[in-house]
Every structure is written in C-alpha cells, then in structure tokens.
Amino acid sequence: DASRDTCASCGGAQRDPEEPESRLSGDFLEAVKRHILSRLQMRERPNITHPLPKAAMVTALRKLHAGKLLEDGRLEIPELDGHPTGNQVLEENSEIISFAEKDDLVTSKSSLFFLISSEGNQNLEVVQATLWLYFKLLPSELRGRRKVTVKVYYQEPGLGSRWNLVERRVELKRSGWHTFGLTDAVRLVFQKGDRRQNLDVRCEGCEAEGVLPVLLGLGDESHRPFLVVQARQADAKHRIRKR
C-alpha cells in the first residue's frame, strides 16, 4: 500500500472529501492551462494587444483552405472547430502564417519584413516557405494577358548581410494572388535562430502593363502580403516511432 501512496496515478490521487470542488477545479484548470502551454512550447499565453485585421486573417486562412467566415462573422475551421481531429499524428506538423510588416525607418515602398519565428516554434525544421503577393490589374487599353517580371530580394540573417534574389515571370489575366518560393530564405532564418526576414519586392514592367503589386501602406488589408511556413519538429525525425 505504501507504494500506492507514492505512485501518483496509481488508483487515482485520493481526493480529500472536504476539499471544495471549486478549488479543485481552479487548481485543475491551472494544470490544464500549463499543460496546453507546455505542449505548444510557450512559457505563458501571448499578449494580444492589437488583434490582426480580420480581413487579412480571413483571406490567408481561406487561401489555405483552413477556415471560412460564417454569417455572424465567426470563423469556422472545419476540421478543427470544437472536436479533436482524432488522427494519430506521430510528428508535430506546424503551419505558420506570418503577415508582412513595414519598417518605419525604411522609406522604400518596396521593402517589407516578416517576424516569423517566436518562442513556441524555435526548434522547427522548415519544410517549405511560400510568399503570397496580390497583384491588381489597373484599367488599361491593353488587351490579353499582361506579362511582368517580379523580383523578390531577401536578405540573409544578420545586419548588413547579403541579399539574394527569387525572380519569376508572371502572366496576369485578372487581379489575383501569386506565390513565390522562399524556402531557402526562411530555412536560413530558423537555422540562425533569427526571427526576422527582410524582403524587397520589385516588379519590372508593372508600370507599363498597368499592374499594381499590393504591398503595404495601400490600406488594402485583405490583400496584405503573407508568408506561409510549413514546418515540423526538428527532433521528430529522430523520434522513436511507435511500433
């Protein structure tokens, strides 16, 4: 019996009948909160002072088939809402959607940055990273597709470090989203333990073709550029798989 007292989960920790239910559930609630935060590798819950513009969030989630907006403005995430997925996932897969920010110290309209990494996702291994940019077609006499060359410059981590280029020829029939692979860039950020990815987006031919890349400062929140990073726990590969 002595061993029963020591084994915390043996036979269930006997409750003191006098203990008020409310204090128990209070302690228990704290334990559950701690459990959730520790599984998300966070010390405490994030402090959300200025919520993200809903338009930007809904667009990104809709683009990634992760959610849809209900009539009452609530966001329903089909495979998530309210019920555990129940699928047995051995590896912890993560998907991070980061929204572009503007550096007030940098006057150039074409520069933007993303704060990708945070406390809860440091030991992640980047599987794929994709930049989503929206291009608006301006009224023009031109007929047919408009062809432009988009150049996305990304800076390697560290002050004053090198800039690399991802370039793509884009043909547009209508306004819409276009994606650019930035896996190498974001992998570098995570490897260096950095958090910030500086970008500079240029477009050759946009002016002549009447195409407007929607970056920041145009007040068009639902077309705010965003970065999607697919990642998995770095140690997942070495984890002993359940037999």
């Binding site: 036979g11 402090n47 555990p84």
Partner: protein, 115 residues
C-alpha cells in the same frame, strides 16, 4: 475503457471540457473553441488488471499471468493511466501575431486503463 459516472471507484476516464471563452483564451486561440482535458482516475484492484481490455501493454499481460498463478511478482500494483490518446489540431496566434496551425499528438485522453 470505462467512463466515470460516479457509480464505481474503478479506473475510468473523467471527461473535462474547457471552453476557451470561459477562461479568456479565445482571443489568441482561433480554433478549436475548447479543449477536452479528460483525465484518468479510480482504483486498479488485482482482478481489474486482468481484464483484457484494460491491459494496456504486453508487460501488464505478463504480470497478470503471474498473478493468476499466484506468483505475484512483489508488490506490483497497476496504475490507472491513459491507454489511448489522440491528436489535437490548434490554430492560434503566437507572440509575433503569426497564425500558427499545429497538430499536437497525444493531447487528448480517449481511454483509461490499468497498467
């Protein structure tokens, strides 16, 4: 596994649902709207550990065989623990206002048993 319904003190699963709105976490957790913080409680008497459905491991089955032949290996007693867990997918804001979608394995207790 058994569900705790107050009728017995045997090892069972206690359901415990937390609505994130009630604890003020719905501002940073986008989905799901709550968490099944189920847990195991109750006793594991010797005959219980012999119940095939509750033997949660090969080790338990072997120990039960010892028991049934009266060769109890020391003061081995079994514990009421989760015997089946499932994944929870979460969509939340991290401290950089990124939206993170994460599949967290072994997050929800589906069944309890003696091991």
């Amino acid at each position: 596994g058994l569900e705790c319904d107050g009728s017995s003190s045997l090892c069972c699963r206690q359901q415990f649902y937390i609505d994130f709105r009630l604890i003020g976490w719905n501002d940073w957790i986008i989905a799901p709207s709550g968490y099944f913080g189920n847990y195991c409680e109750g006793s594991c008497p010797a005959y219980m550990a012999g119940v095939p459905g509750s033997a949660s491991s090969f080790h338990t089955a072997v120990v039960n065989q010892y028991r049934m032949r009266g060769m109890s290996p020391g003061s081995m007693n079994s514990c009421c623990i989760p015997t089946k867990l499932s994944t929870m997918s979460m969509l939340y804001f991290d401290d950089e206002y990124n939206i993170v979608k994460r599949d967290v394995p072994n997050m929800i207790v589906d069944e309890c048993g003696c091991a």
